[in-house]
Chain length 627, copies 2
């Protein structure tokens, strides 16, 4: 039975899709009070999928809070997916596109060894994107387990080409474009340079065209978000992940020519920060599709912990500033506000027995002078057991600074630096500032600051333990290659050459730097392997084919290899691109550099010992060692 006004639609021809996003499994999983919140909400989302008997579940990224979820998190996620998504109910949706191209493997409900009733399709977000040397995402693990159909992953960041998942149910046809998270600055530039292409189906007018992406939608500074108007107009509907405030409204419509597509922003299912946007009611979404007509129905989540956010501006309250007891007055005012919030949270009780009732409370307090400040830790302890976040109820800001900054911004531009952006001093900017502040002789001599800061970010945010080794290998390989090509003989010449190499790296823009590093990393890995496989010797008879086969095979099994191969076929399927045809991609050195590799070790040894000796006197830089 189709809901709302769609009850005249034949259910055999009507897609029913449950949409949710930013589930952040494992968020605060070790918190005694809040540890289960993300899992409870995920369970509600999937139980709604069963309740509304949908054909598909579509997730907009950030299923996991960490790129490397804890074993416990992975366990619970698998458990919940198996509980709700497996079963005997047949799936009535047909995949018309190349499944290997879309998902790196067959769609899970066609796997003869698995019984899937509710197929989940997901892109990755910025929290669960691929990590490590082998570039594996947690979604890859769920995909190989047959529990999630992972799509929309991009392997070439210099040019994005999206082949849709083509789905048919009766007379309705859905072209689903997936764009897993790419750094906003990079993607914004790619859009600007018209390097993002979506393959159109031949009879695209007959298809309902839908895009799911995971990017900044709110303006967070120039080139740090994706403006809606850069997305192609042939789209009927866009599912926007990443933004945590739920912005989704009931709608029954069909897109007419020259009209904008509808944007559905489900928002997160768990509050991962105590910002105002997270205090809005949370939803997942039921989308019903009948040919080109759609009905969007927000489904309020009933198991989300109540969250009350209040802003208190002390200058607007009637406080006598001359009073010696001003501190006490402020505290009793704020105590009252917290108690009000706790009271208000009761309105948010849904009656669902699984809903955690202890509320989240956040007061954003603007104060005027130090006399109004007080021991916040002690204040918060009064609410132990009354709120779910006793340690961070308060955030205190100096009103003057806030007003000044606000005025400065209002004067200089119309950019809206709101809560999230104002606090978003990222680790890269901090490191850049640090290195820029160093005197010349203490700056990095070989490594690119940008590459290092990006590595630090990947290490901290994505727990990519191996990233430093890869970046160092890449720099070393590049330096050695350049030295081999040059005529440098003396130590001074080598130093000069290294300086040139470093300057070239610094001058490179972000994109070409990444390309260079990736190419050098590949070359470094290949060189090691090639040296291992091909160095001739009297003492062994070594077939390089045999030696290379295990790893080659293994790589072919992985997600990347399959995807790239399949994409080539996809383009020949009769699809045409919206943007002009792509030029040949930037060439990457992936052939084994045998001669260079053979020469490498002695050069490296010279380089290493020289630099190590010199560094010992000034150890402010990162050493290049042979380990």
């Amino acid at each position: 039975m189709v809901q709302n006004d769609g009850d005249t639609w034949s259910s055999d021809d009507t897609f029913r899709v449950l949409i949710a996003s930013d589930i952040h499994l494992g968020h605060l999983e070790n918190d005694a009070v809040r540890g289960e919140d993300s899992f409870i909400a995920f369970e509600e989302v999937l139980s709604l999928a069963v309740q509304y008997d949908v054909d598909l579940v579509l997730l907009g990224g950030d299923l996991f809070d960490h790129a490397k979820p804890s074993p416990s998190c992975m366990f619970k996620c698998t458990q919940i997916l198996r509980k709700y998504c497996l079963g005997d109910k047949p799936v009535s949706v047909e995949v018309l596109s190349d499944q290997l191209d879309n998902f790196s493997r067959a769609v899970n409900y066609e796997d003869p060894n698995l019984n899937v009733s509710y197929p989940v399709l997901s892109i990755h977000g910025n929290h669960d994107d691929p990590v490590g040397q082998h570039g594996v995402s947690s979604l890859d693990i769920l995909s190989i387990s047959g529990l999630v159909n992972y799509f929309g992953r991009c392997s070439d960041y210099s040019r994005v080409r999206i082949a849709p998942v083509l789905l048919r149910k009766g007379r309705s046809r859905l072209a689903l474009y997936g764009l897993s998270h790419i750094k906003d600055q990079r993607l914004a530039r790619l859009f600007l340079e018209k390097k993002v292409e979506m393959e159109l189906v031949d009879d695209s007018g007959e298809w309902f065209n839908m895009l799911v992406l995971h990017q900044n939608r709110a303006d967070r500074g120039p080139h740090n978000f994706i403006p809606e108007n850069v997305l192609p107009s042939f789209l009927d509907l866009v599912v926007w992940g990443h933004e945590h405030d739920s912005q989704v409204f009931a709608a029954k419509d069909v897109k007419r020519e020259n009209e904008n597509f509808l944007v559905v922003q489900p928002g997160s299912t768990v509050a991962t920060s105590l910002a105002a946007g997270e205090a809005l009611p949370k939803h997942c979404v039921l989308l019903q599709l009948h040919q080109k007509e759609y009905i969007v129905t927000p489904l309020p989540l009933k198991t989300v912990r109540p969250f009350i956010f209040k802003t208190v501006v002390l200058s607007e309250e009637n406080l006598d500033q001359e009073d010696v007891n001003e501190k006490e007055k402020v505290q009793s005012l704020l105590t009252e506000k917290v108690n009000e919030a706790i009271k208000e949270a009761e309105i948010l009780h849904s009656g669902d027995p699984k809903q955690p009732l202890l509320p989240l409370v956040r007061l954003s307090v603007f104060f005027q002078h130090e006399g109004q400040d007080f021991n916040r830790v002690r204040f918060c302890q009064n609410f132990n057991g009354l709120v779910a976040n006793p340690k961070d109820i308060l955030i205190m800001k100096r009103e003057k600074k806030f007003r000044e900054r606000k005025e400065r911004i209002d004067e200089s531009s119309d950019v809206d630096i709101g809560g999230a952006a104002a606090e978003a001093a990222d680790v890269e900017s901090l490191l850049r500032a640090y290195y820029a502040a160093q005197p010349a002789e203490r700056r990095l001599a070989v490594l690119s600051v940008r590459a290092v800061t990006e590595a630090v970010r990947d290490f901290t945010l994505k727990r990519d333990d191996d990233v430093f080794r890869r970046v160092l290998d890449a720099h070393r390989q590049r330096a050695v290659d350049l030295l081999l090509q040059s005529s440098a003989e003396t130590v001074d010449e080598v130093d000069e050459q290294l300086k040139t190499c470093k300057e070239a790296l610094d001058a490179a823009d972000e994109e070409s730097l990444r390309t260079v590093i990736a190419a050098a990393a590949t070359a470094a890995a290949t060189a090691t392997k090639a040296a291992a496989a091909t160095k001739k010797s009297e003492s062994i008879l070594l077939s390089s084919d045999e030696e290379a086969s295990p790893s080659t095979r293994a790589r072919g099994r992985g997600a990347r290899g399959g995807r790239t191969r399949a994409r080539g076929r996809g383009a020949g399927r009769g699809a045409r691109a919206v943007s002009p045809p792509a030029p040949a991609p930037v060439e990457r050195r992936s052939t084994p550099r045998r001669s260079a590799a053979q020469k490498t070790s002695s050069w490296l040894q010279a380089l290493t010992s020289e630099r190590t000796t010199r560094r010992r006197r000034d150890s402010s830089d990162i050493e290049i060692s042979d380990d």
Copy 2:
């Protein structure tokens, strides 16, 4: 078709079990040359299971090299398991015992949503044991995914009681006892104290009784291994995991009264250290069982990388010690030895195209004086591309020291401290020594050294990121509880009380310390939750049942909860224990300590601010803070 002499056995009555152990998936996974070795061997093991058409695959622990495998490792493991173990072939083995009791859930081949052809049963080893606050092993994830049947996990370390998995195939019956890894010292003591019980089946004489365990078998010091004679004599066969040297011989037999059980030690499938034992040929094992008769057939693995281990004693070589060029002579001798080893490795080429051919070579060199030592890094670089481990071909030891230590050992005892044990200075002993060497005022004032060193071990070996927080919480909770019970009022009295508390911890033996810490950790978590759930207030109407329900439910879903509950039932199934019945287990404080928790915060605050202030002058100890 039954192999060997068993061809008169009806295959309907004959169990066929493929046994392997210590697969160490992910070992050196980022090594460009050796990264795939562990996965290649695992794939061979499972392909042998298919080739020999076995009923079950039995693994002896350490399927993973790390307790928290990388996403890439988890991906490849899942991929290999799905490739070989799923399919339409029916499984003809019946599970007669309580599956929930054995595996925390149904055996995977009875799952209606999965098609399993080759069921894998596994215990955990010391490398893949449960980690984190929620105690989840990687095997739990494979278990909830339906790919492995994880058994033999013990939840009570003060008394071990093993309920067998009871399996029937036609007229043959197999009682399979699983004992996942427990620290050797602890398990040895439990055996000594007769606190390890194996539930006997009523008609145990009719059953083939088999135990799989993962412990030190070789003598690595007093109470640091499990002597075979402590295992009960009713066992017919023991599969011994953990020891990496493969010791398994063809046998066709039946155990007669007063005879010892047969021990099958499969060994590892990948060399994880370059020790002599790892250079022995590697195997998995085909076990065929017909009622009480068995046939054991070692199956040599053909995809294992060749490994040659040589010992060189320089004093036994004809080197002229007066020669000025002694260094060069030593180097050319060793070069010759390495080249010999590379040559010898060719004999180990199996012809399997998946076998990596570049050999591992290790020379264990005993030298006499510094004049024989040389730049080993440079020496090893000569073998880049000729061996798989160019960086660690050599291990050099002073012959004199070795001889002295050997003589000392020979004189003092007949304990054989061999290669592995001699190098096994564990992190706990190092830390203990460190703290013991500190002057009194710099020693730990509140924390137990033993608890801290165990935590460091869990952090380093098991990557249990959360262990410090748990141990600190436990100590704090215990200290606060004791302070609340005492009449301490002044700072000096509090200090005195803390000292007493610390002394009690130091005096506790390992087992009771663990019990105390576990109880305090539970109490700390419960206190937080109880405080959250029950503190009364006018402003909210909070049902503690509702608040507590999500996490309680979630815990019930986990492995531990299910196991404990099921075990109670298992005992009533007509099984009887070999050891005398267990007394009531050590009581653990798991009831919410509401009044204590309510009082805690102010006490803690006083304690924290006091100690923080004082510590600032002497920051040599770990601070107790309220975070």
